[in-house]
């Protein structure tokens, strides 16, 4: 056996990520097939954001978000694009700015308040940093508001249990063939159910997200 030619058989469980709702962490085992299917599902979302073949999407995240991030990385490949990575921390915010500048990034996903704190602490102009992009998607309302205040038109990336919804021009889009998303009649909170097999299934799982379900696959924040 030599390096590069032989490894152990891949484990049945691709990895144990997590679903976080209202700060409650639920470990979430996923299979390789789940990740590959999510990637297939998310590729049109990246295209809708303006990512083109040979373009670059920068994903700003943390390892604990692997369940949601790795499918997006693979989705970039399905678009024929490349992805790059920066950590969603104030310290690593300089990397987000540097890579946008150096790699001629088209789309940035995952900007949060901590990243904006780090950029502003470095004296980075938010409008200049993100203004040349085709799209920038935030993951929290505070970051969204700060980018709007800077004169930008950010999109949103929202985690719906184990899957993602990403804002296109007309609202938040998710894959209604793979996921059923419905509001809780009592609270209005969105609940998610898998419609295709997943290693870890969910049945009307709370998401912590409130939005209006316009039609299958489309939400209005």
């Amino acid at each position: 056996m030599t390096f590069g030619h032989a490894f152990e058989d891949a484990p049945a469980v691709w990895g144990i990520g997590r679903v976080v709702v209202d700060d409650v962490v639920t470990p979430w085992p996923a299979a390789q097939a789940d990740i590959d299917d999510e990637a297939e599902s998310l590729a049109p979302r990246l295209t809708a954001l303006g990512l083109e073949p040979a373009g670059v999407v920068l994903i700003v995240s943390l390892l604990s978000q692997a369940l949601h991030v790795v499918p997006l990385e693979k989705a970039a490949g399905k678009v024929g694009a490349l992805y790059s990575s920066a950590d969603a921390t104030p310290f690593d915010a300089f990397r987000t700015a540097s890579l946008i500048r150096q790699l001629e990034v088209q789309v940035v996903l995952g900007v949060d308040g901590g990243v904006l704190d780090g950029l502003e602490a470095n004296g980075t102009d938010l409008a200049a940093t993100f203004g040349g992009l085709t799209a920038v998607a935030t993951v929290d309302e505070g970051a969204h508001a700060r980018l709007r205040a800077a004169g930008l038109a950010p999109r949103s990336w929202v985690k719906l249990g184990p899957t993602s919804a990403i804002e296109a021009g007309d609202g938040l889009r998710y894959d209604a063939e793979r996921w059923q998303v419905e509001p809780d009649p009592g609270t209005g909170e969105l609940l998610v159910t898998n419609r295709v097999p997943r290693l870890t299934g969910c049945d009307r799982l709370r998401t912590g997200v409130r939005a209006t379900a316009v039609e299958p696959g489309l939400l209005l924040p």
């Binding site: 056996m1 030599t2 390096f3 032989a6 490894f7 152990e8 058989d9 891949a10 484990p11 469980v13 691709w14 990895g15 144990i16 990520g17 997590r18 962490v25 470990p27 085992p29 073949p53 040979a54 670059v56 995240s61 943390l62 390892l63 604990s64 978000q65 692997a66 369940l67 991030v69 790795v70 990385e73 970039a76 490949g77 024929g80 694009a81 490349l82 992805y83 790059s84 990575s85 950590d87 921390t89 310290f91 690593d92 300089f94 990397r95 540097s98 890579l99 150096q102 790699l103």
Partner: protein, 438 residues
């Protein structure tokens, strides 16, 4: 796939006879890497042309040692600035080749703009050997707590030994989850823990009263990376928490070297890189086990190959076979050449004062920086982080740090105390700069 009880992940490679390692190195280097890099890497071409050689002039390892010029970080930066090339002239392929590359990652950027690094990886890395050495096996769970999320290299590698990664952040906010998931999911390997992570875990245990020895009882081995570990932190992790640490260090930006169960030096893999150990002020090789500067050459990387890269790292290297049976060389990191200060003609490196600072309870996190405005200094200046809620008693802390450092290095220091958080903000989560210019 293989016998889970086998001693090595890849015995054929890890215990390959020295003579065969040498032959393999020459074949890869002379027959493949050097002509490839000279043909395609603008920096290598420019540097070699300036030295008056071509790839055809390097037909033997003697030629390599005698003729191939060095490069270093400054040369790469200089090329980048002159040519507006973010890759510093290192790249041998078009980064937009999506049939080759899937991603573009980047270097740490701790000393400037991060340098982009196109990623052509497909599957696990050579770290499968280290993860196997920790004792992790197929079917196990494995704590993936790297200080950064840059690509699939590590989680693919964990799967390469048949284990399942458990994803956690190397961040203060996630320490409780690291403990909880260790207890609930019973991982056997952990990559990585660092000095700041030890500090976070210690604070967590202090605040919650949680029993970390019990929570961590499933681990067979943990890789410690980022910086050296002081004796106090090591005692805490190994004796109080019951973890066996395997220290890891980078080797000249061409890979990593990690301890085996003998804990007698860090193994580097000679089928992936060629390491020289040279006089830090010259070009001659130092002897086996002697102090020198690490100069690295890749044997695998055809995307951005480093060839005779002067790393600035001071090391000892031996190629004697380890008691574990591995034939590949071992390295001991001693510090960075650029970190050394001379005070009254006496050399002081961060590692020389580490244990002294760690030994004072209020500064036991060993967060400190040597202030180095130039190599030769009239006074030894040290900025030291302390953990306390108020400023009561700081003069006493300063005096004890002063005395401990003076006893350790024989030089009287000027000690500046700052809150730990001030220094932690300066670094990525797993380390801080140990030398500051001001």
């Amino acid at each position: 796939m293989g016998d889970p009880d086998r001693r090595y992940f890849s015995a054929e490679v890890e215990t390959r006879p020295r003579a065969e390692l040498d032959v393999q190195r020459e074949e890869r280097l002379l027959g493949d890497l050097l002509p490839w890099a000279y043909e395609r890497s603008p920096l290598i071409r420019e540097t070699w042309d300036a030295a008056g050689i071509t790839a055809d002039d390097v037909q033997s390892m003697d030629d390599f040692h005698a003729k191939v010029p060095f490069i270093d970080k400054d040369a790469i930066r200089d090329f980048r600035d002159r040519h507006h090339d973010p890759y510093g002239g290192m790249l041998c392929l078009d980064p937009k080749m999506t049939e080759v590359f899937s991603a573009i990652f980047s270097t740490s950027g701790t000393t400037g703009d991060p340098t982009p690094a196109p990623y052509a990886g497909r599957g696990p890395s050579m770290l499968v050997r280290e993860f196997w050495e920790l004792g992790a096996r197929p079917g196990d769970r494995f704590m993936h707590c790297l200080f950064t999320f840059r690509g699939p290299g590590i989680h693919d590698t964990i799967r390469g030994i048949g284990a399942t990664p458990v994803f956690c952040d190397h961040q203060p906010a996630d320490v409780a989850q690291v403990v909880r998931l260790s207890r609930d999911l019973r991982p056997t390997g952990w990559y990585t823990i660092s000095g700041p992570m030890v500090m976070m875990l210690e604070a967590y245990a202090h605040d919650t009263g949680d029993d970390l020895r019990e929570a961590f009882s499933s681990y067979r081995g943990v890789i410690f990376a980022g910086e050296p570990i002081g004796p106090r932190a090591r005692r805490l992790v190994e004796e109080d928490w019951g973890l066996e640490l395997f220290l890891q260090t980078g080797v000249g930006d061409v890979g990593a070297a990690t301890e085996c169960r003998e804990h007698d030096g860090y193994h580097f893999w000679e089928d992936t890189c060629f390491l020289e150990n040279l006089d830090p002020l010259g070009t001659e090789a130092v002897g086996d086990g002697e102090r020198g500067e690490l100069v690295s050459t890749t044997l695998l990387d055809k995307v951005a190959p480093l060839i005779r890269y002067r790393s600035d790292d001071l090391v000892r290297i031996t190629r004697a076979t380890c008691a574990c049976g591995r034939t590949h060389g071992r390295v001991w990191p001693l510090g960075r050449k650029g970190d050394e200060v001379l005070v009254d003609g006496r050399s002081v490196m961060p590692g020389d004062v580490w244990a002294a600072i760690e030994g004072v309870p209020e500064t036991s996190a060993a967060l400190f920086q040597i202030v180095r405005t130039q190599r030769e200094m009239d006074r030894l200046r040290i900025r030291v982080g302390y953990a306390t809620d108020g400023r009561k008693g700081l003069d006493d802390v300063r005096t004890r740090v002063h005395d401990a450092v003076q006893a350790a290095v024989g030089v009287e220091p000027d000690v500046e105390l700052v809150a730990n958080e001030v220094l932690l903000r300066q670094g990525p989560p797993h380390k801080i700069p140990r030398v500051a210019k001001q």
